[in-house]
Assembly symmetry: D2
Homo-oligomer: 480 residues x 4
């Protein structure tokens, strides 16, 4: 799958938190951690640093590389705790407003918060708060969460008690890192939709979305935060509030394994790379074909292609080269050049596909338009046959838990049979991994949300999804 | 007085609002209006445009010139109402957060707000709101005002009723322009500390801090907003809520006439230029001296210098040339070059002062350090005598109504007699306009706040001024 | 006169050079010197620093403020000599290429060069050089000069000998500062069209276009470079080559006094401020009028207005306020808003002109369009009569010596009588300073070029002025 | 191999030219072509467009993405021919000066030129030219080439005749695209050190360094430019001057196949991808080992790893994940964090290497420091054994033909035996592809320069390599 490209799904966030006892530069650690989480969100990013109870924050629209200069990191260098965030979101003016971490000041002390996920009752909570006179600056769920925690904090003895009480009110997907003046807290919703793990770096503690971010700062993986768990670190060490553990079945997003997460990460005990290899192997079993070479669509189709090749015995080859220099300001070719658009980003290696029967493995098929263009390129480069295999089943249902699979109209599989899709894309055969197969790809194969494929939602969808999902435009309103 | 320079006072804001009936480009009008108000605040600026109830906003740290490109103005071009803001504030990271207009979304519809002034009960109101669970993102009073109005709005029949009720709770200085989905509202506190006026441009209505901003968009001056008045414009025309008019004595800030406002503005019926001419004339009467030439310190000492020259009969001359290219990123000379620092910005015209007895008129003396350097330059250029005249009396008291005269320690007049100051600055004589004189400088000479000179505060100062004044650092807090 | 504005004349450059014996930061001195020369050119600027024979250079399109950051100045801080340049030129892509100083490397050592002026035989010299195989990167005369010097250098014993021989070939206007590995050299053409002066700062030597740049670095004025003189500074001190002194009559540009130079500068022994006062006084004698107030058009009409006021006895007043925040990226009002365009930049002080007979003094009238708009503003503000006085005579002829008065079509005085111009501009009376009067305005009133007024060129104009003047578009060419 | 990283070799340039007969947007085509050539140079880039003989050029330091905005491309959109360039070079101030294309104006018409390669007689030619009075602005060989052509042009009947004569004087490596007012010319030196090929796009002709750039604009490959050939396109079509063909043996740089070129390119009839596969296969034959998995160092070690895996029968695996977001402004970790530096950029997939005997294939070993760090990461991730295989032989000699292999001191193989290197890097075994093997990797295996491995230079190295190679600092010089 491809960043900066239409017709692709987007994860909504990566989060990172560090509590340092040994004087290490926490802003710098956050910076490197966010680099490892950049794939989870490229719209905006931010770091908040806590220096003896005083929180300084820098955040803006852009990649880590754009937002954080050496001067900025130096300015944030004093502190004992930090949290960071990378965010995917729609382009445009409101982006900066929604950048995280969110820093909140109140009489009981300040709080900073970074969030990955999506609430299913955000609209109700927001309306309730507004009717009490609350003002919202952002359009994201994160502000709702911070309000709920702040309200509870007024009558709670501690921030962790406030967080625990807030969890009784929040529904849907949320992995959070929260920083109070003296504590760093990690929270994962009772379903565990989004990943969250714990690492140590000497005496220091790290919480983050993926283990690859632990690696990037040299931290060692300890364990995942359990669904429903609140983990608190302060000067007395780490402790856990398990009052919400087990109140709902664990349903981690299966698409984290298929596409969102980095292959070098391990989520809830299952390697992402291995899961993709297995997806490829299962695809080979479910949809075998006589062919000469197996190629993957870079970057996230590569692992499954190797899995397919190994299982099938068909050689793996590098059939497509991705241009790694395409950046944010790339000028899109005009309509008449649309074929070239794909060719600039992805070019076939003719020697690998010429005269060959090619199995092309991709992580998923959303709209099908990019796949169709790639297939045309392969044929122009001389491929005799092209057999497309998708390591995700057909997308048939919107996701309400933090990804942007939202409209049935744009999902090709909602409106066409597999045979029709094969014809539209122009392939000789097409195979999707089955709904049964997909939940078997992680090594520890139980407890997944695959509602986008099955429609089987682990918790109630939003009442008015059109309103609650994604950005509401700033300030639409009527007045009597 | 000099922008970008220490030892100078700063006004906190300029505001502008426009309601257009004829389809004119309201963002563009705001842009030109803010250019005319740039002297009232150079830290950040913003424009919010209301297009059929949908509010789009762009704001950032920087001058109008930096923040608004042609593309940005084009992006905001659709709309029937707009409000704009220029803000003075401290440099640094929190600046962007505090930029205005502030846009607020709530169940009764959205609201945008721009504020000039300072509340004296902001800390109390904020604490009260926080104890009810409110979250604050900004450190400025403006967010407090928006909360109070929003809370009242929930139980009010209209936005103007909410504003009126909010005025019962707000104390201190506030001139506001407020935009609801369908109305543009101007509000001035019952004391009328900060200016606010009304203009028309064809069928369109403009509210703004100074008349020079009316001129810049070709609008005609109608009248000032009265202290305590709420003026509402909507599709039915303009109306006024006078329920708070007359509940407090009018006490417009006298320093608007001496320094803050542009000389081509007319405030509450008195020309700023004329007020400065009169200040100069009164100075000549109160502190006459035998001399050969009268010069003004650019830019705001020029008018008073002409007034002094006319009254005294001593010729007016251009004794100092100001470099108009010094911008934000000017590299300050090192310590050893400190004298040059002034010389780069302000250079004497030797021919005008050589061998002469010079009267040098400045608008005010805060710390005295810049004055001392200018005097040295004049003497090096050959001035035989230098007689300094300040069109403001001695600063002796902090201001709580929207300027940054806050610390007695930095005010040279708090710690020294006039004779001592003359010696420190190195002048042959020194004269301040008297406290009696200063309130006579506007043509309509009644109803002024001159508390910075007299200590006679028109309303109760904040209880804990250290906390309530200016920026609180983001997020200092303790937790039990 | 107004920067960034059409219908105004532009000087082409300011130059600065420093030779330091005492270890002072020469890049920093250049930086402050260029700030004082910014009015002479706002298109591009640059600094070249010589550190023991190794020349580092930074230059770009933009104001000093934009081009030089603290980091850039720090990077250039090591060195014993530096030269700097500010340049006026047309906007657009080729600007960066033409930025100066120009650094040249050759077998006899490197050379850096900064130039103010315009050659009248540039086209011939360039063609001659191209026919010998020379390649030109820039479109300016400066590259021609550097070629001529470099060619002579190959057969000369020293750089100063090469410069002297080059002067035999160069015709027209050139003030130069040149830096060789060990020497700093100042050169002024035999006519002395453009100013150039010498200052000292302790043991260090400064060459620059105007004395205000000496002031800005705290240097003391020593004397002007004489027309035709070559002044050389090296470790042995300062010496002079006078071989070209006196070979042509001195003809300094009179317009330096009227408009180009800063009023706090002294050129060839005459104060610019005083010259403008005298221009105003002469105007009052030549074109008296019954009036109530004399106002100047900021910035360069102010001094002459004071001169007119003093001579006539009519009071001087501040009738127009200039907005000092209009920057490069100011968005021009649309056609329909054209009147506002002037009003944003220049606003009348109604109190000063209302009901009054106003004498409005400007430094010159080129096209007349801006004057007409200002006059309309004054009348709208209530002026009863407006009498325009120009301290420059009528422009009737192109200038070939470094300003952009080039096309007769755009000069209103070429096509209209004074009466017609008065009517076009809409004034009650109009007076230009006489051609006799204008050469009397400097205190040392002899040796001026006033060809733009008189057509009396002190040296032969270019043969093909259309080709030789200003930028040739990069690369127009034909090939057989 | 890794961009932006020390210890890696750098190619010096990519070039692109297009002659359009059908009105297509040539600037836009150049833009997409340069994107495909970005890997050949990331320091600066530029595009020059010829519109009926008038050449407009934009170039600057930065990636294509940074240098070219949509506005800039739009500004250049009118034209019938264009050439483009991407350049590798040292960072720093002089970069912008050396950006290409180089545009030259002379009496016979203008010329634009883009160059890939390095002359071996540049210093001699430059000195000769300087002694004739030529001035150099750039430090690169390209300006020397443009001078030689320009000089010859003065006495030649056509640009192609001038180019042909210039070839008699130029020694070393040069692939050029040249644009005259009416012609587009491609030139490859008689040795053919650097690639250059011809494509067509409808009626339009494209010249470029690599075929992947043909693909990116949808052009079809026609043939390579032959070593020594001059190919001219104008309105009469394409023709060839073969006067320099065959005067030297063909010696294409072998390292183009190993590292520089993109795997989807085909150079002189041999696929780069296939060459790398063969390098891997030959490595497996020359240096077999018992192992469990073969991994490649991304990006350029991947192809050879697959070749090794196929030949050896050991499974290929994805052992290292490269972070694709590391950009120019990435803040390098401090010394104490040095291990992390590699880990941020390259993270092992523990599941792939844990408990395994790993063959790690890289394209080459220059200093060995990065290899050593990667090996440590693999061992920390659980690799039982690590066997390093380099698809390039040992670097033992500087390159004078356009790459930066210049100093023997930095080449680990110059100072250590293979066993010592294995120990330094920390691997269980180490194998370099043999010098015999490397020239067999292209399918058409004859005519290569492998002097960096063998010391067998196909033409005489520069007399004073220290002076002639790479950037001379601007302007070092002495003067009598």
């Amino acid at each position: 799958m491809e960043n900066y490209e239409q017709g692709k799904l987007h994860e909504e966030c990566g989060i990172f938190g560090i509590y340092a006892k040994d004087g290490m530069n926490v802003a710098s650690a956050c910076y490197y951690g966010l680099y490892a989480l950049q794939h989870r969100g490229q719209e905006s990013c931010g770091i908040a640093v806590n220096d003896d109870g005083l929180i300084a924050c820098h955040k803006d629209v852009g990649l880590i590389n754009d937002v954080f200069t050496a001067e900025e990191i130096a300015r944030l260098s004093a502190g004992q705790m930090a949290i960071g965030h990378t965010r995917y979101g729609t382009m445009g003016g409101s982006g900066r407003t929604n950048a995280q971490p969110l820093v909140v000041n109140h009489v009981k002390g300040c709080m900073a918060l970074a969030h990955n996920g999506a609430l299913t009752n955000a609209a109700e909570l927001r309306e309730e708060l507004e009717l009490q006179g609350s003002i919202f600056h952002m359009t994201s769920d994160t502000e709702v969460i911070s309000y709920i925690i702040t309200k509870e904090r007024l009558t709670s003895g501690s921030i962790e008690e406030a967080v625990s009480r807030a969890m009784d009110r929040l529904k849907g997907a949320y992995s959070l890192v929260i920083m109070s003046p003296t504590k760093l807290i990690a929270v994962r919703d009772p379903h565990g939709f989004r990943p969250l793990c714990i690492g140590t770096l000497g005496e220091n503690t790290v919480f983050t979305s993926e283990t690859c971010a632990l690696d990037s700062v040299g931290a060692h993986f300890v364990r995942d935060v359990e669904p429903g768990e609140i983990v608190i670190v302060d000067k007395n060490g780490m402790r856990s509030d398990r009052s919400h553990v087990g109140i709902a079945p664990k349903t981690t997003c299966i698409f984290e394994y298929l596409y969102f997460a980095r292959p070098d990460s391990v989520i809830d005990g299952s390697s992402v790379h291995n899961a993709r290899l297995r997806a490829g192997a299962l695809l080979a079993l479910e949809h075998p074909v006589q062919a000469d070479v197996v190629i993957g669509v870079p970057d996230s189709g590569i692992d499954a292609a190797i899995g397919y090749a190994r299982q099938s015995g068909i050689p793996y080859g590098i059939g497509l080269i991705k241009n790694k220099y395409i950046g944010r300001t790339f000028i899109q070719p005009t309509q008449s050049d649309r074929e070239n658009k794909v060719r600039i980003k992805l070019n076939p290696v003719a020697e690998v596909v010429r005269g060959k029967r090619v199995v092309m493995v991709d992580d998923s098929i959303v709209r099908g338009t990019t796949s169709a263009r790639i297939v045309r390129l392969l044929r122009e480069a001389g491929a005799k046959e092209v057999h497309l295999r998708s390591s995700a089943p057909e997308f048939l249902n919107p996701c309400y838990f933090g990804t942007d699979i939202d409209s049935r109209e744009n999902l090709i599989a909602c409106n066409h049979t597999v045979e029709e899709i094969a014809q539209i894309i122009g392939v000789d055969s097409l195979g999707f991994l089955s709904r049964e197969g997909v939940t078997k790809i992680p090594e520890n194969s139980s407890g997944f949300c695959a509602a986008c494929f099955t429609g089987d939602y682990p918790c109630e969808p939003p009442k008015n999804p059109g309103k609650s999902k994604f950005e509401r435009k700033i300030s639409e309103g009527k007045e009597s």
